[in-house]
Amino acid sequence: MKLNGKAATIVFLGALLAGFGFAGQTAPKPLSGTVTLSGAWALYPMAVRWAEEFKKDHPGVRIDVQAGGAGKGMADALMGMADFGMVSREINPEEVKRGALAFAVVKDGVVATVSARNPLLSEIMKRGIPRARFIEIWITGSVKTWGQALGGNPSKAAIHVFTRSDACGAAETWAAYLGKRQEDLGGVGVYGDPGLEDAVRRDPLAIGFNNINFAYDPKTLKPVAGIAVVPIDLDGSGLVEPSESVYATRDDITGAILRKVYPSPPARDLYLVSKGRPARPAAAAFLRWILTEGQRFTAESGYIPVGPEQLEKGLSILK
């Protein structure tokens, strides 16, 4: 009887206290300030979406999103010029040494692209291009014609190779898939993901690469008008089997990344990097929101969610 009474009082008091604490936490605190994100084009569409949704709950916060490449994002974050750098590649030890703290927020991938007016388009879509050939196109430069690219095709049409001129995660990730670094990629350098895409679109003989969310039109979910996504011949069979044919729509490719059919790299985690723990309350709140409620919007924006353990790790660092 006595034990029950004591236990009941404790439970009752505990509930009361918890009730107060709970009420205190859900009392709306008007959040204000500016949050700046800068960096990779890969994260740009997601960041813009997150900013829109976050501002619905917190209209007092101003969020500026700029793209300039993952390199710029990292530089801005480390120099305190942006609250978060959007980085679409792995973080270097040198960057960690300078204080970079990375939070995995979503996953996406890089795909190879050609112009929809490529004279050999049907061949390319039917046979795909294996990784070894990509290396010969971008790294060694030994493949100089489309005939060589497709292996055993008589075409003498030259390949116009394109890459990124800005320091970016897409190029770094594509290069990582080919076993190298961005500076080892050959080809004409064009500024920005949309810039590279436009250059490829205009040149029927071009080959390039893009982030998924720029290669696929967010409205139609198909490749952007004028662009075709090159299937990777994963098993080197010389043909794109149905299991390898995952490029028709954005959902196909994101599904393939989720199921690990599409390799990582060129699929990869995307990070928000800050110098140390985010100090400003608006920035910290935004990041916390991204790691929790913001995850709702990833699939419809064309991204793959990261594993819950990674989100947990991020949240625990934030505390």
Binding site: T34, T36, M81, G192, P194, A199, P218, A225, I227
Partner: protein, 286 residues
């Protein structure tokens, strides 16, 4: 006989070459302006001019370039103002106060010559170093300071050329009437050289608003209109640079519209400065 024919032939050949060259130059101008006009005509709607981009400037299918228009106007105006505040006193000092061969005058003129030739990307890089040292973020303020640095030598050189033309007789007359140097400067020299000074300000403004390399690192970019000096500001040149290379026509339209606005601005500045010189020159004393 043969010599005369050869000389005539030579003359004719070169006349053709000269005509061709002149056509190349003016044709180039028409081609450039024409390309911008043709590409931007479908994009110049009212909504383009009064809305900011919706959905991110790299991806958004709707909205316009208000962010860049306002950002550029704020930035260039601020920078030009800053440049005038320092530039006008410098030029007045060089022409009215300092002895022409004094070490200070020579050194200042030399420095202005040096600064005049510095490429805008170097100003941008320098601005970036200063920002990093001061802990400033990419902002309207950082952009204003950097562009002011760019505009200063241009403005002072143009002002210097006009103020030098003020007849010595005038300044002497003013001094003989008992005016202090400051009064001479303000009431006589500036008034006489006003069209030239305004032109110098306009030229510098035009240069400042059109330059991309100096703001690339310093002013940032944003979808919104800046409401404070410490926020990043979109600018028309960067609006072109960032939105031109894209497969999305709606995004590209914003780039063309920005190019059209910039070109129109430069045209306007050119016209205004010409009419200014012509009109007020009629009233100044020769």
């Amino acid at each position: 006989m043969r010599i005369r024919r050869r000389r005539a032939l030579e003359e004719r050949i070169f006349k053709v070459l000269m005509a061709a060259s002149a056509i190349a130059v003016l044709g180039g101008l028409l081609l450039i302006v024409g390309t911008v006009v043709v590409k931007s005509l479908p994009a110049l709607r009212l909504s383009m001019l009064i809305q900011t981009p919706k959905g991110g400037f790299y991806l958004g299918r709707e909205g316009g370039i208000l962010n860049a228009i306002v950002g550029s106007l704020y930035l260039a105006s601020g920078a030009t103002l800053l440049a005038v505040i320092f530039g006008l006193p410098i030029v007045l000092y060089l022409n009215l106060y300092a002895r022409p061969r004094s070490a200070m005058a020579v050194f200042t003129r030399f420095s202005l010559d040096v600064l005049w030739g510095v490429p805008s990307i170097v100003y941008g890089a320098f601005g970036f170093i200063v920002m990093a040292a001061l802990g400033l973020r990419a902002s309207l303020l950082a952009g204003i300071i950097t562009v002011a640095l760019l505009e200063l030598p241009i403005m002072t050189r143009a002002m210097d050329e006009v103020i030098r033309l003020v007849p010595q007789a005038m300044t002497d007359a003013s001094a003989s009437l008992g005016a202090t140097k400051l009064e001479t400067a303000l009431k006589v020299v500036i008034r006489q050289a006003m069209p030239g000074i305004l032109t110098a300000v306009l030229i510098a403004f035009g240069r400042g608003i059109g330059d991309a390399a100096s703001v690339l690192f310093t002013a940032g970019f944003t979808d919104s209109v800046p409401t404070s000096l410490l926020q990043p500001a979109a600018t028309l040149p960067l609006a072109i640079f960032f939105q031109l290379g894209t497969p999305y026509p709606e995004v590209q339209e914003r780039a063309y519209a920005s190019a059209a606005i910039l070109t129109l601005l430069i045209l306007a500045i050119s016209l205004i400065s010409r009419t200014l010189i012509r009109r007020i020159s009629k009233h100044s004393v020769r």
